[in-house]
Amino acid sequence: MAKILAVDDSASMRGMVAFTLRSAGYEVSEAENGQLALDAARASRFDLVLADVNMPVMDGLSMVRELRVLPEYKGVPILMLTTESNTEKKMEGKAAGATGWLVKPFDPEQLLATVRRVLG
């Protein structure tokens, strides 16, 4: 089963994402900011990264930029979990190298649908 990295500084949000995906059979690792996510991503390869935008230490956009520099993360889907529904913010994510986004609030079904959509 695919390995997913869930990155969010909010424990409730991260918990919800991880729980939902684990219930669906995915293998999920969690990180609470961009820096920890980078460490995790360097240690093992993930098939999908789901990341919040606003986080302390290292935000989601910087994390995406750093990830895209790594050869093994070229082409790996990275989705931003964002409450910013305006296009500008989404484009910032795209410019940083994100694959797409999932607009908060989302419920477990929407999350799973999107993840399945990306992972096929």
């Binding site: 500084d9 909010s10 424990a11 409730s12 949000m13 918990g15 919800m16 729980f19 939902t20 219930s23 669906a24 919040d52 606003n54 986080m55 302390p56 895209r68 070229k74 082409g75 790996v76 889907p77 990275i78 409450t83 529904s85 296009t87 484009m91 795209k94 190298g97 994100a98 694959t99 797409g100 986004w101 607009v103 908060k104 609030p105 989302f106 419920d107 477990p108 079904e109 929407q110 799973l112 959509r117 990306v118 096929g120």
Partner: protein, 657 residues
């Protein structure tokens, strides 16, 4: 997918959000003192997280409210608006309002009320917008046609961004019947081909009733990374522009889940540092090794190996003690979580009163038992209010007295022996002996002040119903007096002392036990029973001769201890224990001390010193006056723990009667 209930995440969401609000408040106060831009980012992040969580976990009112605050914070963050006192004030009220919403969320009440609606309007007005009712989901941009022609040509870098054209084609296939034609015209020669880039394009015919919006949604992530034209089949010639329409996901409200979670949050939880958990795991490992070592003796015991057995038992004792300490440590939380509320309190009070006060907090990392921590907040708030309200003077008065206009209020926590000490120190006017004496005379608390030491006079403020302020302001005068402060602290097994110098300042010293869960005590025999007397309360044990005891009118007994006469409390009479010694000279008197006085406890004799794990008597039986709890002795029998303050209170009531 109904297997994932959002309610299970509510408690975590509440806890992290309340922490976020504390952080917001602290940052706002720091910002008010002229903090930097990083604070604004921190505040924004906290609000943003709450908004996202609220929307996700089914609290749309809270999300909508927080959204307004976030918009304002966004302007501050971008530098479109400067931070001023009014904005900080508005945002502080927002923090309060959100706290209220979380309170109501925990009990399943409606979140929004008149106050929050009003504040929401104010926030919106500040940003320069009016709040409109949330609009329904936007309708699809155009009506369905019989089919669409899609020209899709990814830019070479699209693959690196993680978007796979195959996925897009697969999704399109879900919208209707597809026929796809690959365009190979830009395919480079094999030598020039970079396999990580996309060189293909597609012309796609989609037959079906899909809307333009639905198709655009498929391509929403690749906007800007491809050339895309979506045209209705019938008007293919009329080349519509390929504006990608943003779809808005409607918030999913799960009120049922919110209600399910309410009421299930009484047990509370403690967040524990990983190092503490790791320490415990290490220790359990050690215990397992010790257990294995001792296990060798189960089958047979050869006296020659006695030393080994003794070593094993000593090790077991050591590990058990450390384990006990570490487990207690889990309940220990930094007092900073209580101190945190004071910057705000001090700011509000000083603004209201027109005083200038600098708050210093020292030792925020000092750890206290969670139960103690929860109950020490109110007494501390009262003392801080008092210090600002009554202790520290107005700026002009301070200037006239040759002091700095700005008063200093210091909160300090530190360890002393086996206790935690919290000091509240102000450099204000100090306690006014004459004012206290006058008040005490008026209230009939004393008959005359002659011969009373300053300490004794200061102690009078702890008497019920005492208040020296000429007019009771709405700040301190909330029907809670210093007597309640002392009572609360005493109930926690602590004490309050006061030191004051006229014109120089006042210091309140609160001494608290590290934990309520374990006490050091002396076990005392009374007939067939065993009672535990807390060690901290014991002054000394004395053996009295029969003629050292004076009987007084009313049936009481007194004995002379140093310079004073103390009443004797015969524990066997107090608690009805048969078979106890009756003659004073046969037993022992333990002199114990509470804040309110000393008494001598008459017992048969001392058994020894021991640590007692406190079990609640109230939870298992009912409250008994003079008893603070129970513990289980090494032989499995139950011993009651003496509540010294309670016994002293009972004794003084008897004296008064």
């Amino acid at each position: 997918m109904s297997t994932v209930s959002l309610a299970q995440f509510h408690q975590v969401f509440f806890e992290e959000s309340l922490e976020g609000l504390d952080a917001m408040e602290a940052a706002l106060l720091a910002l008010d003192q002229g903090g930097d831009a990083e604070l604004v980012h921190l505040i924004f992040r906290a609000a943003h997280s709450i908004k996202g969580g609220a929307a996700t976990f089914g609290f749309p009112d809270m999300a909508a409210f927080t959204h307004e605050a976030e918009s304002l914070l966004d302007e501050l963050r971008d530098g479109r608006r400067a931070t001023d006192g009014a904005i900080v004030e508005l945002l502080l009220r927002t923090v309060d309002c959100l706290r209220g919403m979380f309170d109501r969320a925990q009990t399943g009440q409606p979140l929004a009320n008149a106050q929050s609606d009003d504040l929401r309007q104010q926030l919106a007005a500040t940003v320069g917008r009016t709040v409109v009712a949330p609009a329904g989901k936007a309708a699809g941009k155009s009506a369905a046609t019989s089919g669409w022609i899609i020209q899709f040509r990814p830019h070479p870098g699209m693959l690196a961004g993680g978007n796979d054209p195959l996925r897009l084609l697969r999704e399109l296939a879900e919208l209707g019947q597809l026929s796809v034609e690959a365009q190979l015209d830009r395919l480079p020669t094999l030598e020039a081909l970079d396999p990580s880039e996309c060189h293909l394009g597609w012309r796609i015919e989609l037959i079906g009733a899909a809307t333009h919006a639905a198709i655009a949604a498929v391509f929403e992530w690749v906007e800007g990374e491809c050339d895309l034209i979506i045209e209705p089949m019938a008007q293919a010639a009329a080349a519509l522009s390929a504006n990608v329409v943003e779809t808005v996901t409607a918030p999913v409200v799960q009120n049922a889940a919110a209600k399910a979670a309410a009421g299930s949050n009484d047990s509370g939880s403690v967040r524990v540092g990983i190092d503490k958990i790791d320490g415990l795991i290490d220790l359990v490992g050690e215990l397992v090794i010790t257990q294995a070592m001792l296990d060798q003796f189960r089958e047979e015991f050869d006296p020659s190996r006695l030393a080994l057995l003794q070593h094993g038992l000593a090790q077991l004792a050591r590990h058990t003690r450390t384990l006990q300490e570490n487990v207690m440590g889990i309940r220990m939380l930094p007092i900073g979580s209580v101190f945190n509320r004071f910057p705000r309190l001090v700011r509000d009070l000083t603004q209201k009163l027109g005083k200038l006060v600098k708050l210093e907090m020292i030792g925020e990392h000092t750890e206290l038992d969670k139960t103690v921590l929860e109950k020490i907040g109110d007494p501390l708030v009262h003392l801080v209010r008092n210090a600002i309200d009554h202790g520290l003077e107005m700026p002009d008065k301070r200037r006239a007295a040759g002091k700095n206009e700005t008063g200093t209020l210091r909160l300090e926590a530190f360890h002393r022996g086996g206790s935690i000490v919290v000091e509240i120190v102000d450099d204000g006017a100090g306690l006014n002996r004459d004012a206290i004496v006058a008040k005490a005379l008026q209230k009939g608390l004393i008959q005359s002040a002659d011969g009373l030491s300053d300490e004794t006079v200061n102690e009078l403020i702890f008497q019920p119903g005492f208040s020296t302020a000429a007019t009771t302001t709405d700040l301190s005068g909330r029907g809670v007096g210093m007597d309640v402060v002392r009572r609360n602290v005493t109930d926690l097994g602590g004490s309050v002392a006061i030191k004051s110098r006229l014109g120089v300042g006042t210091t309140f010293t609160i001494t608290l036990p590290l934990t309520l869960a374990i006490i050091d005590g002396l076990s005392a025999a009374v007939g067939e029973e065993c009672y535990i007397v807390p060690l901290v309360a014991i002054v000394e044990s004395v053996q009295l001769r029969a003629d050292a005891v004076r009987s007084v009118v009313g049936g009481g007994e007194l004995f002379r201890f140093r310079e004073e006469y103390l009443p004797i409390v015969r524990l066997h009479e107090q608690f009805g224990c048969p078979g106890a010694k009756q003659k004073i000279e046969d037993g022992l008197v333990i002199v114990v001390e509470a804040d309110t006085g000393r008494v001598g406890l008459f017992i048969d004799g001392l058994i020894g010193q021991q640590q007692a794990v406190v079990k609640s008597l109230e939870a298992n039986y009912r409250r008994v006056e003079g008893i603070s709890g129970a513990t289980i002795l090494a032989d499995g029998s139950v011993a009651l723990i003496i509540d010294v303050a309670g016994l002293v209170r009972m004794q003084s009531r008897r004296k008064a009667a």
